[in-house]
């Protein structure tokens, strides 16, 4: 156990000093001053370094090993991207600086937008959304503005039952009613069912492609046709875009709105849960509704245009997570067009190879080729009293991070596995061997799985107590 910074605090210690003031410091002549100091910890620099080094050692991370979290695309984060993103020419810009001072930044944003448009086939992008869910919200706001502009009152958004929870949550914020459509026995949208559900009240069909089972919607052309025939828009959650680079361009198949996760497909690090970036791309008929300001180019000079009478406005106070753009654009420039196609081909090959290796040890509900990820079920181990969570906790003992568990909701005891393109065959083989071994242990030594993990910094934690009596803030009387 690592004591908190509050427990380590000792009055009088300093971890950092700003330069001495070179002007007189008078009394603070303001009404409503703070009555008692906040009680911040006091530590020296060395002990702060040690504190965080000790904490760092308790984290699993991509630089340590495979991170097969389905739907999260935990690929390698190239070092050169981190290096260029630290250049002061990028990190030192204030968002209120005039355009002339920010030409390099504006050019980078403009080029990134154009590259994303080429990769996806969408007409134009906004880079403002700070995360994938923020992109969804922005996309749905655009759909709302579009129908308002047309004077149409549509309130339903259809969402497959395999969707991420962010989809219905984003829809609800915009005042739409999400309606679930059931996947068929192949894990796909049934066009006939969709046709029945799709009415003049439907604003949008919100789908993930490939879907969260890692399956490509074979009938996507028909699905899009059905939606458009009823005047609805098709929103594509691009969380799984790592499967489609250079293979399918959503814009080409009739997608109206989509978001991309730069922190998934375009290699920017996840940072323990952000910052991400969720640019939104739209088809031609929706460009006017994009957030402002937008970057414009004229004869090599870049500017910000706030002109957009139909625009939804702003979803970010400035331009979005700019520093993330730098890293994503570095990735795109490193790989180029053919290189991006190789990303998806290798992601798909790795996933199919791993699926082929594991399908005899675990249940595979939806057979057939997968795209960049696949979903297994641990229900075949239930007879030994073993659940998906036991399997993945045991994985931690082998020094390997768990796949996503219990999602998508339509698969019992789900293990959602995404090996990504950057992992080598040897690493995938090792992961497969351990997974096979655990399936064996489930039969021979289920108690060991129930006990797992035992080699990690802590063992299974009591989540029930945390939910019943949450301890969310270190008490103030520790020092």
């Amino acid at each position: 156990m690592t004591a908190t910074v509050f427990e380590k605090s000792k009055p009088g210690r300093r971890g950092y000093r700003i330069p001495e003031a070179d002007c007189a410091k008078g009394k603070i002549d303001l009404a409503g001053l703070r009555s008692a100091p906040p009680g911040l910890p006091e530590m020296g620099e060395q002990d702060i370094v040690r504190h965080y080094v000790e904490l760092a050692a308790k984290n699993y991370h991509v630089d340590k090993g495979i991170y097969p979290l389905g739907s999260c695309t935990m690929k390698y984060n190239p070092l050169v991207n981190e290096e260029v993103a630290r250049l002061e020419g990028f990190t030192g810009l204030h968002p209120a600086q005039n355009e002339a001072d920010c030409q390099g930044a504006l050019e980078l944003m403009w080029r990134l937008e154009r590259a994303l448009a080429e990769i996806t086939g969408m007409e134009a992008f906004t880079l403002q959304p700070a995360a994938g869910a923020h992109g969804e919200l922005t996309g749905i706001m655009i759909a709302r503005a579009y129908f308002l502009d047309r004077g149409e009152k549509r309130r339903i958004v259809l969402i497959p039952d395999s969707a991420h929870g962010t989809n219905p949550a984003s829809v609800a914020i915009c005042g739409f009613t999400p309606k679930t459509i059931q996947s068929n026995e192949r894990g796909l949208i049934d066009p006939a069912l969709l046709n029945r559900e799709m009415t003049a009240e439907t604003a949008c069909l919100m789908l993930t492609l490939p879907n969260t089972l890692g399956l490509f919607e074979r009938e996507i052309a028909e699905i899009v046709r059905i939606a458009h025939a009823k005047g609805a828009l098709v929103y594509m959650d691009g969380a799984n875009m790592n499967a489609l680079l250079g293979i399918v361009r959503p814009g080409d198949i009739g997608i109206d709105i989509m978001h991309i996760n730069l922190h998934k497909t375009f290699s920017t690090p996840h940072g323990g849960g952000g910052p991400g970036s969720g640019p939104v791309g739209v088809a031609k008929h929706l460009v006017d509704f994009l957030p402002v300001p937008r970057v414009t180019e004229r004869k090599g000079a870049f500017a910000l245009s706030t002109d957009g009478p139909k625009s939804i406005g702003r979803v970010h106070p400035y331009h979005g997570n700019f520093n993330v753009f730098v890293k994503a654009y570095a990735f795109i420039r490193s790989l180029g067009g053919p290189g991006l196609r190789e990303v998806s081909e290798n992601a798909i090959l790795n996933a199919n190879y791993l699926m082929a290796r594991l399908k005899n040890s675990y249940d595979l509900k939806y057979p057939g080729p997968c795209m960049h990820e696949f979903v297994l079920s641990a229900r075949n181990l239930k007879k030994y009293g073993i659940r998906a969570t036991d399997v993945v906790k045991r994985l931690l003992d082998y020094g390997i991070h768990a796949p996503t568990v219990y999602f998508p909701l339509i698969v019992e005891e789900a293990l959602m596995i995404e090996p990504v393109e950057t992992e080598s065959k040897e690493t995938i083989d090792r992961f497969a061997e351990v997974m096979e071994k655990i399936a064996g242990e489930a039969e021979t030594n289920p108690a060991m799985l129930h006990e797992a993990p035992v080699t990690t910094p802590v063992r299974r934690l009591d989540e029930a107590v945390a939910a019943r009596c949450p301890d969310l803030c270190c008490p103030g009387d520790l020092e």
Binding site: K25, L33, S35, T91, E136, M141, A169
Partner: protein, 451 residues
């Protein structure tokens, strides 16, 4: 430069194991006619050296505020950042990890965020902080949505003296949700017009937003305002500059229900305005209505202390359309920066940053008060930035100042035409030197040209 490690031989073995002879067989579910006809038309790939050169060139086309004498503020500030912050956030154990879903192997991130929550609670004086929001503006918008949900409807009152960027985001979110906003003007002295607020509170009001300090840098009478708002049965949402909380009564002291703000000042570079750090802290009674992740202390099977994500039934992956928000990825690494920053500065250092910003901004204010040809419309009741009125269009002044390496402030004329075309918002942080402050004074006095 590709980061793929598999060789042709690896791929051949893998295809054999799958039972296919060519990769295209796996693409069978994708109808041929939907597939890309040719390669993506992007620039040629670059080796590492080429990437470094290209981005060096792009960065070189910018003139960053961090290298100038920057008097720009308005929510993003040029401050000293300890090397410690960069050191910790550059460790790949933190930046290459995912959301801490597997708590047993994420204790580093979880404890750091728990400490962040605790630090935000201490700075704001509130009971509970979440693990972060995207930025101050979206945190404020989410607070408005949250307050409206708690109050079961009702308008939200918003001060005119609020950052126009924040107002735009607030407009966007509340319009989508169908929440009415009503603007409360500022009085002659630049702070919220309390009479207008009182009359607006006569109709059902879910919440009142307080910007502390307000966009003009002025300190609002927080206690008086809180009494007025609570007296009317409405919720108080305080949007605060965290550094100001070192000196001013924090939201917890005057009973704010929700406190939000921008944490960029806490160790984050300006980065052209992103990534940022939205923080949100609430009274205990509102915790189950709060958006975002929460980290709780608990114990493991052996009784050892550890940390987990908790109260997840508020969140989208469990509650779906009934969730308190759609937020998933937030700004965890930025929250880590803030935790390291506040720990490094500590009790004394944090106060010193605020006190120096106060002293230096007031030093410039006093110099300008004694300078002919400019006006200071709102008095000295500000924390670290103030409104300056020049007799001519601010653009000309800004251009002259820029030629001397001075970024002279944010022009206010477009968003606040009533302040005139010569109005500037001038921020002075602890980073500005005496020499830079005097240079600014000289520029305003029209004496800068000779320097």
């Amino acid at each position: 430069m590709s980061y793929i490690q598999n060789t042709d031989a690896d791929r051949k073995e893998m295809r054999e194991r799958i039972g296919i002879s060519s990769f295209d067989e796996i693409l069978e579910p994708i109808p041929e006619r939907l597939r890309c006809a040719g390669a993506l038309r992007l620039d040629e790939p670059l080796a590492e050296a080429g990437v470094a050169a290209l981005f060096g060139e792009l960065a070189g086309k910018n003139r960053p505020a961090s290298r100038a004498a920057s008097f720009l503020g308005g929510g993003i500030y040029d401050r000293h950042i300890p090397a410690l912050v960069r050191y910790v956030t550059s460790r790949s154990e933190f930046y290459t990890s995912y959301t801490p879903y597997q708590a047993e192997v994420s204790q580093g991130t979880l404890q750091a965020i728990y400490e962040y929550q605790s630090l935000i609670c201490r700075v704001t004086g509130m009971d509970v902080s979440n693990a972060s929001m995207y930025d101050g503006a979206t945190a404020l918008a989410e607070a408005a949505l949250m307050a409206n949900a708690i109050a079961k409807g009702g308008k939200v009152l918003v001060p005119r003296a609020l950052s126009p960027a924040y107002r735009a985001v607030l407009d966007c979110y509340t319009a989508a949700r169908g929440i009415a906003l009503e603007e409360i003007p500022y009085a002659k002295n630049g702070t919220l017009d309390l009479d207008r607020l009182s009359s607006a509170l006569k109709e059902k009001t879910a919440a009142v937003i307080l910007a502390q300090p307000n966009y003009f840098g002025l300190v609002e009478p927080s206690h008086e305002l809180a009494a007025l708002v609570h007296g009317a049965g409405s919720l108080l949402v305080a949007c605060v500059d965290p550094v100001s909380c070192a000196l001013l009564a924090p939201p917890g002291e005057y009973g704010a229900d929700i406190a939000v703000g921008e944490g960029q000042s806490l160790g984050l570079p300006q980065s052209y305005g992103g990534p940022l750090l939205g923080f949100m802290a609430v009274k205990t009674e509102h915790v189950r209505r709060m958006p975002g992740r929460l980290i709780s202390g608990t114990t493991d099977l052996d009784g050892k202390r550890g940390y987990v994500m908790t109260l997840q039934t508020r969140e989208q992956h469990i509650r779906r359309e009934k969730a308190t928000s759609n937020i998933c990825s937030n700004e965890a690494l930025c929250a880590l920066s803030a935790a390291v920053y506040l720990t490094a500065l500590g009790e004394q250092g944090f106060r010193e940053v605020a006190a120096q910003s106060y002293a230096k901004s007031h030093a410039l204010y006093s110099m300008l008060a004694a300078t002919k040809g400019c006006a200071l419309p709102f008095g000295a009741g500000f924390f670290q930035e103030f409104v300056l009125q020049l007799p001519t269009d601010a653009a000309g002044f800004l251009k002259d100042a820029a030629s001397k390496g001075v970024l002279g402030g944010i022009p206010l004329g477009a968003a606040f035409p009533e302040l005139g075309r010569g109005a500037l918002l001038v921020a002075v942080t602890e980073k500005r030197t005496k020499e830079e402050i005097e240079l600014y004074r000289d520029l305003v006095a029209g004496k800068g040209a000779g320097r």
